[in-house]
Every structure is written in C-alpha cells, then in structure tokens.
Amino acid sequence: MNDAPVLLQASGLTKDFTTKGDGAFRARTTQFRAVDDVGFVVRAGETLGIVGESGSGKSTTARMIAKLIEPTAGTITFDGEDVTAARGPALAAFRTKVQVVFQDPFSSLNPRHTVERIVSAPLDYQGITPKQGKRALVRDLLDRVGLNPDHLQRYPRQFSGGQAQRIGIARALAVSPKLVICDEAVSALDVSVQARIIDLLRDLQAERGLSYLFIAHDLAVVRQIAHDVAVMHRGKVVEQGDREAIFDHPQDEYTKTLLAAVPTIDPGWEAARATMLEQERTDAPAAGRTES
C-alpha cells in the first residue's frame, strides 16, 4: 500500500450549475449537477490523474480544487487544513501552495506582458520577495524549464507552443507550490513536444517533491505520469485506484469501454520495430552511442 502522506483530500465534492430561462421562460430554472459526490486524495510527491471524456466534470473538479469556483457541497482539505471556505489571508496562503497550468498556453499568458512580468506575477500578487531577487529567480526558473534565461524581455507570441507551455510551468513554480494542477496541460501540443513536457514535469516532481493533479482526456498520457488514477463519467468518479489497477485490471464497465476505445498500434508491428532497433544496435554498436 501507499504510505506517502496525504497532501490534498477532497470528499463529497458537488457542483450544481443553475441555468436561468430568458423572456417568457424567466421562471424556468434548471439545475445541472456537473460534479456529484466526488472524493479523492493526492499524496505528497505523487500524481493523481483524473481522466474522463467531455462533460465528465473533470475540469469543474479541477477548478473547485484550485478555488476558482465554489463547490455546492463537500470539503477540500489541504495540508491538514480545511480550505473549502478559505477567504482573505487563508486563501492567499493557499494560492502560494497550489498553482495551475492551463491547456492553451497562448490564451493563459498575457500577450502584452514580457516573460519576466508573466513569470513573476504570482510573486507580485502574493507580495513575495525572493531572497536572490525577482529577476534572478525568474532567470533560474526559465533555465530550469529549458528556456533561455536571456529571453526575459520577450513576449509570448515570440515562442512556440511548447516553449509557451514551459513559460506557464515556470510561472506556476515561481511561488514554490506544493501542488500543481495541470488541466489538459499537454493536450494542445504536438506529440514530440508533449513527450518532452511530460519528461520536464516528471523531473520537476523528482527534484522538488511536487504533487500534481493531472487532468486529461488522453489515457495514454495519464499512464505516463500518474501514480493513481480516478476515472470520471457524468460527474461521478466511477473507479479509482493505482495506475496498474486501473489500466491493467479495470473493474468498472465504463473504464473498460474507455480503455478499449484508445487507438493503439498493432502489437505485432511494435514488436517487429523493437526487434529491428535491437538488431541495429547489435550490428553497429558504435552508432548507438552518437548522442550522450
């Protein structure tokens, strides 16, 4: 069993949205339960993946955890404290420990602000002055996420999609959070870029003991990064467990359907490719070591 301490616990999380009618239908309001009695834990230094299709409630859940919207019912406990109704200083303290990386880097980075201003914004909001000075910290962060620290004065549009997402990650790290919520953070990226961003997220986790709440619709990506997985469907968690349990021995019918729908390459072709690459390595041992 897992004995890493619990960092975040959500229990009974529920979110209702009310839609009001217009004109003659003014009196007609309908309630829609987007998230229904959802509970999970995120352990320190680990990743909880939440997977689901559109409308499953996974992003609404992420937004409640980030305290961007209020839950209708349920509690959120972070680091042993109930933060469900946190306001004022308690909420400010929470924001220094929990940060978010969004799906579309270009719409979540202000196009009129320089990289320096974007990455240091969370420090300004929280009134934090880093010991080494703000600029030095931003340079360190850019360097750490694989960007050139000399690009401080550039604007988001001067970067590619993958680089812009690295800026978003640097911004999330500025206040040294314990938990980073990644809401479809790699979904908009090309596959080779995606692989390198996932590598970066895993390296940062190993270095800093970060926890991730990793929301994604792509099950293969979640399998690359999550320790535990919760599967959502129509507002409910239908199944959760450690990665192997969910992917190798799914119990719930919906989880099985979801896994079966993921397109895969013919295993015979994959095996043949592995054999070919192995053969090439043994045939030309020197060629295999061209890159360090």
Partner: protein
C-alpha cells in the same frame, strides 16, 4: 453548367490510379519571398484504399489536401501534378474545380460545428449540397438525404433530418458531415483530422463507421491526422511529413514495424503508450517539433 468537364474528368484513363500526385509543391508569397509549405510530395491512392498522411503542426499535411481540392488560401500556388483517374487537376479553372469538388472528391474537416450553418436544418444543408451538383427535385434530394443519414447510422433519420446542428452531439454532427460528403458518392474522400475534436469512445465509433462505409462504397480515402495510433488503424499506406517535406512513405506495416527515417522513429518513440508504461520513453531528440510548434 459544363457537362463536358464533368465527362472528361469522370471517364477514367485505363490503368490510372484513382489519385496520383507527383512532385506536388505548394508555395505562398510572403514579404520575405516565396515560401514552400509543401515540397515535392508524391503518392497515389487506389480505389477502396486509405492513404494516411501523418505529421505534426506545420508539416504541410493539411495544405497537401487543400492543394488537391484546389482550395488553397491567399495566393497559394500549386506546382507538380495531381491526377484524378488519370486527369490532371492542377491548372484547372475554379469553375471546373467546383464540379470536381463534392462530386468526385469530398472532404470532411475536424470541426463539424464550424462546417455546418446553425440557422438551417441539417437536412436542408445536405439537400443543398446534393442539388448543387445533381439538380433534381427537392423531393428526390430529401430522399437521398434521409438515406445518407441512415447510412451513417443516425437513428430515426426521417425525423432527425429536420433538426438543427445544435440538436446533435459532436459525434452525430461528424456523422452528418460524412453523410453530406458521401451523398454524391465521391470517388475520393479526404478526411482532415475528422476525429481529433471527438471523445475517444466517439472517435472509435466514427473510425469504425468510415471503414464500414469504405467497404460498402469502395471510396478511396486520404486520412490526415497527427495521431500515429489512429493512422496505424485506418491506413493501408502511410506518408509521414515534416516541415513541408515528405519524410517517408510505405505500407502501414512497413512504417510501423520497420521505420527507416530517423524522424519517423523519433515520432514513434515519443508516442505515449497505454499498454507499456514501464519501458522508459526515450526523450525525443531536440531537433523535432518544438521549435516550430
């Protein structure tokens, strides 16, 4: 109306493939000079077969399909040769290409909602597409439309034909786009990321539908996607593109089991595997993708 054009393009040249593309180059003028967004792409599509074109953003895969259709935006120029059943399409007038599009080559795009007019019923939109090419009475067009909706497995088609796009789910809308594309029984269907915007369970249904329809009709297909796993499932042949260059072409089996080009190999290495989490995925070489993403 130009019946001669339709006839000359309709009658296949004996021995010709359904579609033959040779040295297709697409050029756009910019203030800094001409830029080739596709360079010397060559491939062929046979009746009843699917060619998958796979690549990352900026690879030129969508521009290739737009060039085949004669739909390049803002001053884009096509050179090389595109032959449909042996007839050259490059250099034909807009009027001639309008007869080819829809009738002989149809296209399905990524986002069905932006391809459908929200103010008209789906039936009216399919009827319009049909009558623009075949004429005939509204009654005939409506019968064809209902039949097309039934073929893409829309339940209760005779009632649903009078519904508006917003009354359908994303997967159903994509079925409607496929119905519209197939109601004229084209020889070639170009599907540009047709399942990218869909949930994975819906994607599986649409992929099944496309392959069933292809078996029924013998339509040739070009399937454009960034998703290697999807292309491995639908394509007979695969063309890998990168930054406008054709990188590697072969049967799906050859591309996925014996990839030759380093770029194809790095793409396959970068693909997250749902069935194999433990083998450490090698980091894709820094030469791929991110600089131009």
């Amino acid at each position: 109306m130009s019946p001669t054009v339709t006839r000359t393009i309709s009658l296949p040249v004996p021995g010709a493939s359904l579609l033959e593309v040779d040295d297709l180059t697409v050029t756009f003028p910019t203030t800094a000079g001409d830029v080739d967004v596709v360079r010397k792409a060559s491939f062929a599509v046979q009746h009843g077969q699917t060619l998958g074109i796979v690549g990352e953003s900026g690879s030129g895969k969508s521009m290739t399909s737009l060039a085949i259709m004669g739909l390049l935006p803002n001053g884009g120029r096509t050179t090389g040769s595109v032959r449909l059943s042996g007839h050259e399409l490059v250099g034909r007038s807009d009027r001639e290409m309008r007869r080819v599009r829809g009738d002989r080559i149809a296209m399905v795009f990524q986002d069905p909602l932006s391809s459908l007019n929200p103010y008209y019923t789906v039936g009216l939109q399919i009827e319009e597409a049909y009558r623009a090419h075949r004429g005939g009475s509204r009654k005939t067009a409506r019968a064809v439309t209902i039949e097309a909706l039934e073929r893409v497995r829309i339940a209760d088609a005779s009632r649903r034909v009078d519904h508006y796009p917003h009354q359908f789910s994303g997967g159903m809308r994509q079925r409607i786009m496929i119905a519209m594309a197939l109601c004229l029984e084209p020889d070639l269907l170009i599907a540009d990321e047709p399942t990218t915007a869909l949930d994975v369970t819906v994607q599986a249904q649409i992929l099944d539908l496309l392959s069933e329809l292809q078996r029924e009709t013998g339509t040739g297909m070009i399937f454009i996607t960034h998703d290697l796993a999807v292309v491995s499932q639908v394509a007979d042949d695969v063309l890998v593109m990168r930054g406008g260059d054709p990188v590697e072409m072969g049967s799906a089996e050859q591309i996925f089991s014996r990839p030759q080009a380093p770029y194809t190999r790095s793409l396959l290495d970068a693909l997250p595997r749902i069935d194999d989490p433990f083998s450490e995925r090698p980091t894709a070489p820094a030469t791929t993708g991110e600089g131009q993403a």
